[in-house]
Amino acid sequence: MKQRFLADNALGQFLDWLTHYGVLHGPTRTAEGVDAFGPVQTESDLCLDYRRTLIPPKKYLLPPRQTILNYTTAAGYTLPDRPAPQQVLFGVHSCDLQGIAYLDRVFLGDRPDQLYRRYRNALTLVGLSCEPDPFCFCASSEKAPRNADLFLQRLEHGFIVSAETTRGKGMLAGLEPLLTEIEAIPPPPVESRMMIRLRNAAERGSTFPDSPLWENFAARCLSCGACSVCCPTCYCFDVLEHGALDGMTAERLREWDNCLFRAHGEVAGGHNFRPTRRERFLYRYLHKYLGFGALAGVPACVGCGRCRVVCPVAIDLTELFAEGDDVCA
C-alpha cells in the first residue's frame, strides 16, 4: 500500500499552506526554556522534537478565563457574539489528541456547550507522532487518533501524512502538490502496560480503599493543583460574575478551577464536603480514572505524563495501579 509523504524540505511550504485554515500554532520553546503551544511564524519557531508542553492544548478550547455571558439591563443575559479565532494547532501528540477527544465527549454530549462548540469548530488539528519517555504511557492502538484532521508520522527524512476527518480529507486533496508517494510503513508499536492496568482498575471500579498510598500522598501533597492545571482532560471550572461600574452591565466568566483546592467542595455557609487533602485526592482519582456522571466508567487519563513531571513532591497516582496488580504479571 502506498502512503502520502511530505519531505522535510517541504515542511516550510506545508506550514505556509496550513495558514489558509487559520492562524498557525504549534509546539515552541519559550525564552525560559518551557515547551508551550504558541503562535508559529516560520518553521524555525517550531520545536518538533518536544516531549510534552507544560500546558496542554485544552487552552485553545477552554481558555483559562472566558466570558460566557454578557448582561445588560436592556437585553438581559446573552451569549457573547465574538466568534472563536480560526486556528490551526500543529504538532499535537496522540495523547493530547485523545485529551481533546475526551473533552469533546464532555462538552459536546447530551447538553452541548455552545462556546466550546464554537471554539472546537474553529480549530484544525494536525497531529504528530512522538517518542515515549519514562513519564508517559499511552496505548499503541491510538497512534493516529481519529480526531486529528491531519496526522504526521515522523520518518527519517520527512513525514507520512494521513487524513483522519472529513475536513482533513479535503485538506489532503489540496496538499497534493507538496506530497510524494512512499511504501506504507506501519507505525512502531508502543507497549503500555500502565494503560492496561489503569483501564482494568477503571473497569473494576476500584478505589483501592485499603491502600496506604492515600495517606502517604495526602501527607505530602501541597494542594498546589499543578497536576490538574497541566492535565489535558481536567476541565473543572469556576463561575464568576463582575458587575461593571456603570451599574447597567455585567460579565459572567468561567475560569479553570482545581479540585485540589480547598474551596472546591465548599457550599453556602462555609460547610465543606471535601475539607481534607485525602478527600480531595479521592475526588480527583474518581473523576480522572473512574469518571463522573454520563462518563462513569470512562477513564480520562490519556497517559501524557504531565502530572508525574510537574508534581513538586513526586506524587504519582499510577503507583496505585501497580499495587497488587496481577494483570501484567
Binding site: 456547550d113 455552545q114 460574575e241 456522571g293
Partner: protein
C-alpha cells in the same frame, strides 16, 4: 430557542413580591418575562442569577404556577444571596433550569409519606408538600416533621399549622432550643428532629420518607428512619452541593461518581449509603 440554550442562558424575570420570613430569610416571588411558564418537579433546582452578583442553585418552594411565577425561599448567606436580599420589588433577576431529578412523586403513591425538614430544608419540601396535598388521595397518609433552631427562625409556621387543621396533614414541629425569653411555643416540641421519630412504626414497603436539611440532619435521622421501618430504597435524600453550572460540566457537585446536578439532587439512601462523604 432549543432546550440546551434555555439551560445555559438565564431567562429574564422580575421580583414581584418579597415576603420577609425571618431576619435573614425571605420568600421571593418572581414573574417570568413574556408568557413563559416554568414547569418543574418538586425537588428540582433552578439557577438564580442576580445581575452583577452571579448565580446560586435554589429549589423552588411552591408548585409550577400557570401565571408564570415561581417562588424561591432564600437565606442571606453569601455574595449573591446578600445582593438578592438588597433587591427591591420590580428588580430584574435571571433564571435557568429546572435541573436535576426532583422527588420521585409517582413512587410515593399508596404509601405513608413522611417529610423530614430541617431549617431551610423546608423550602423544597414545601413544594413537595403542596404537590402531595393536591394529589392527597394518591397517598395513604402524610406527615411533616419540621425542626428549626429556635422558634423565631421557624419558616411558614402559620401556614403549616393552617394546613394541618384540614386533617389531611399530620404536622409535628420541633425547635432545638427555646428563645431567650424561654417562652414555650404552642404546638411545638423542644428537641432535635430525630427525637420525633422515636417510637414511630411504619410498614416496610408501604412507607417512604423525603429528607432535606443541613448535612448533620441526614446522619442523625437515617438510623431512626430505618428503625421505624422505612426501606433504604424509600428514603429520599435531597443533597446539598455547590452546583455552579447545573448541567454536569463544572464538576463541583459529584457524590462519588454521581453528579448531584444531573443524577440528583435527590438520591435514595440505598444509592449513596456506600459512598464515602456522601452524607
Amino acid at each position: 430557542m432549543s432546550a440546551p440554550e434555555l439551560n445555559s442562558i438565564p431567562i429574564s424575570a422580575r421580583i414581584q413580591t418579597i415576603r420577609r420570613l425571618t431576619a435573614d430569610t425571605a420568600l421571593f416571588r418572581l414573574q417570568l418575562d413574556g408568557d413563559r411558564t416554568f414547569p418543574f418537579i418538586p425537588g428540582q433546582f433552578v439557577q438564580l442569577s442576580v445581575p452583577g452578583g452571579g448565580e446560586v442553585p435554589i429549589s423552588p418552594a411552591d408548585l409550577p404556577a400557570v401565571d408564570g411565577t415561581i417562588e424561591l425561599c432564600v437565606r442571606r448567606f453569601g455574595h449573591v444571596t446578600s445582593l438578592l436580599h438588597r433587591s427591591r420589588t420590580g428588580d430584574r433577576v435571571g433564571i435557568r433550569g429546572p435541573f436535576g431529578n426532583g422527588f420521585p412523586v409517582d413512587a410515593m403513591a399508596g404509601k405513608d409519606v413522611l417529610l423530614l425538614a430541617g431549617g431551610l430544608g423546608i423550602a423544597p419540601l414545601r413544594s413537595l408538600l403542596f404537590h402531595l396535598l393536591r394529589h392527597r388521595s394518591d397517598i395513604r397518609s402524610l406527615t411533616l416533621m419540621y425542626g428549626a433552631r429556635e422558634p423565631a427562625v421557624m419558616l411558614f409556621k402559620d401556614e403549616l399549622l393552617e394546613l394541618a387543621t384540614t386533617g389531611s396533614l399530620r404536622l409535628l414541629l420541633t425547635v432545638d432550643f427555646l428563645s431567650d425569653t424561654g417562652q414555650a411555643e404552642p404546638a411545638c416540641n423542644v428537641g432535635l428532629l430525630p427525637a420525633l421519630l422515636k417510637g414511630v412504626q411504619l410498614e416496610p414497603g408501604r412507607s417512604c420518607a423525603a429528607v432535606c436539611g443541613p448535612p448533620a440532619l441526614y446522619r442523625c435521622t437515617i438510623d431512626e428512619l430505618l428503625l421505624a421501618g422505612v426501606a433504604e430504597d424509600d428514603i429520599y435524600l435531597s443533597l446539598e452541593r455547590r452546583m455552579k453550572c447545573g448541567v454536569g460540566l463544572c464538576c463541583h457537585c459529584a457524590v462519588g461518581q454521581l453528579l448531584c446536578c444531573c443524577e440528583g439532587p435527590v438520591f435514595s439512601y440505598r444509592d449513596i449509603k456506600n459512598i464515602p462523604g456522601a452524607l
